[in-house]
């Protein structure tokens, strides 16, 4: 092997400058970065998984009350948010492709549009939270959920305490998701800055790829959150 035997000296032209020395070749380094991000996403799956488990248990116990509570959140806004995130996943994938094929304008444009869509998502979420606040559906001292009929059983009213559990789960799960969105926006702002400075090449664009993995994960969480929270019992 043409190993440099003198510590501290190496020939720049022997390997790509971004190749770190504990990797044998660039592909291995890319694989390691991807694997590392996926393992982190695995921990995130467990993070959200616990909340989903709690949600499923309570939904099974208090199905009617959850149905009534779910009907009071706006499914159209939820569906719109889902579409927004799906579009942002597309722009993320385009950004990765642009980095792979050295298309600087497309890369920067895609990153910008991804962030804009993320802000749109958070804006719609804010509107939903505002509606909940005004309707006194935020768990706490001012919570009230009186005389709301259970879907399918017009003669029965939902139990406000059980509905409050639904809204607790709603705010914690969507709030945690929104926090992840905000972190994602921060990450992408940094990616945008690096892309603007021309740091990404077809040989090295790993931050774009693994940032993209994070964003897709946040999208997948929302893909599951939307039907579970918004579409429990919508048929009239």
């Amino acid at each position: 092997m043409s190993d440099s035997t003198v510590v501290g000296l190496h020939h720049e032209e022997q390997h790509h400058p971004e190749l770190l020395h504990h990797f044998a070749e660039p592909q291995q380094q890319r694989d390691a970065a991807s694997l590392g991000m996926w393992i982190f996403l695995g921990t995130e799956v467990m993070f959200f998984g616990g909340l989903f488990c709690a949600y499923l248990i309570y939904r099974r116990w208090y199905f009617g009350d959850f149905g009534a509570a779910s009907k009071s959140i706006d499914a159209t806004l939820g569906a719109t948010n889902t579409a927004v995130l799906i579009c942002s996943s597309l722009t993320v994938v385009l950004a990765v492709w642009a980095a792979q094929t050295a298309r600087r304008t497309l890369l920067i444009g895609s990153l910008v549009i991804t962030m804009l869509l993320g802000l749109v998502f958070l804006g719609i979420k804010g509107k939903e939270y505002k509606d909940k606040f005004e309707e006194h559906h935020v768990p706490g001292a001012s919570f009230s959920f009186d005389h709301v009929p259970i879907p399918g059983h017009a003669d029965q009213y939902a139990n406000p305490r059980h509905a409050e559990i639904f809204f607790s789960l709603y705010f914690i799960m969507t709030g945690l998701h929104a926090l992840h969105m905000i972190i994602g926006l921060g990450l992408f702002a940094w990616l945008l800055f690096m892309a603007w400075k021309g740091r990404f090449t077809p040989e090295y664009h790993t931050p774009v790829e693994i940032g993209g993995l994070y964003w897709h994960f946040v999208d997948i969480v929302w893909i599951y959150l939307f039907p579970l929270l918004y579409l429990i019992d919508r048929h009239p």
């Binding site: 592909q27 890319r30 694989d31 991807s34 694997l35 996926w38 393992i39 996403l41 695995g42 799956v45 467990m46 998984g49 616990g50 989903f52 488990c53 499923l56 248990i57 099974r60 116990w61 499914a75 569906a79 889902t82 579409a83 799906i86 579009c87 996943s89 597309l90 993320v92 994938v93 385009l94 492709w97 790829e209 993209g212 993995l213 897709h216 994960f217 999208d219 997948i220 893909i223 599951y224 939307f226 039907p227 579970l228 918004y230 579409l231 429990i232 019992d233 919508r234 048929h235 009239p236």
Partner: protein
């Protein structure tokens, strides 16, 4: 390519939304979750580039993540679901 997956994802969202308003009894939840799983698979396989990934260990990590999540959800639900207390 990516645009095909994107259109499919949007379509699935639309179908989920519309299907929620149709009376299907117990199958409303199943339909919604099945479509959600299809969407998640599309995003994971094609947008996150699991399909055709270079690293063989990657698929093991992803599958075991899903497996352990499945254990969490299945065993918890089986516990509560088999308590016949009224």
């Amino acid at each position: 390519m990516y645009f095909g997956i994107w259109i499919t994802l949007l379509l699935c969202t639309f179908i989920t939304y519309k299907a929620a308003f149709i009376e299907l009894g117990r199958f409303n939840a199943a339909v919604a979750l099945i479509i959600a799983t299809i969407k998640a698979l599309l995003v994971a396989l094609f947008f996150m580039h699991i399909k055709g990934a270079h690293e063989k260990l990657l698929k093991l990590v992803v599958i075991s993540t899903v497996f352990f999540l499945f254990i969490l959800l299945a065993l918890s639900m089986a516990d509560y679901g088999t308590r016949m207390w009224s």
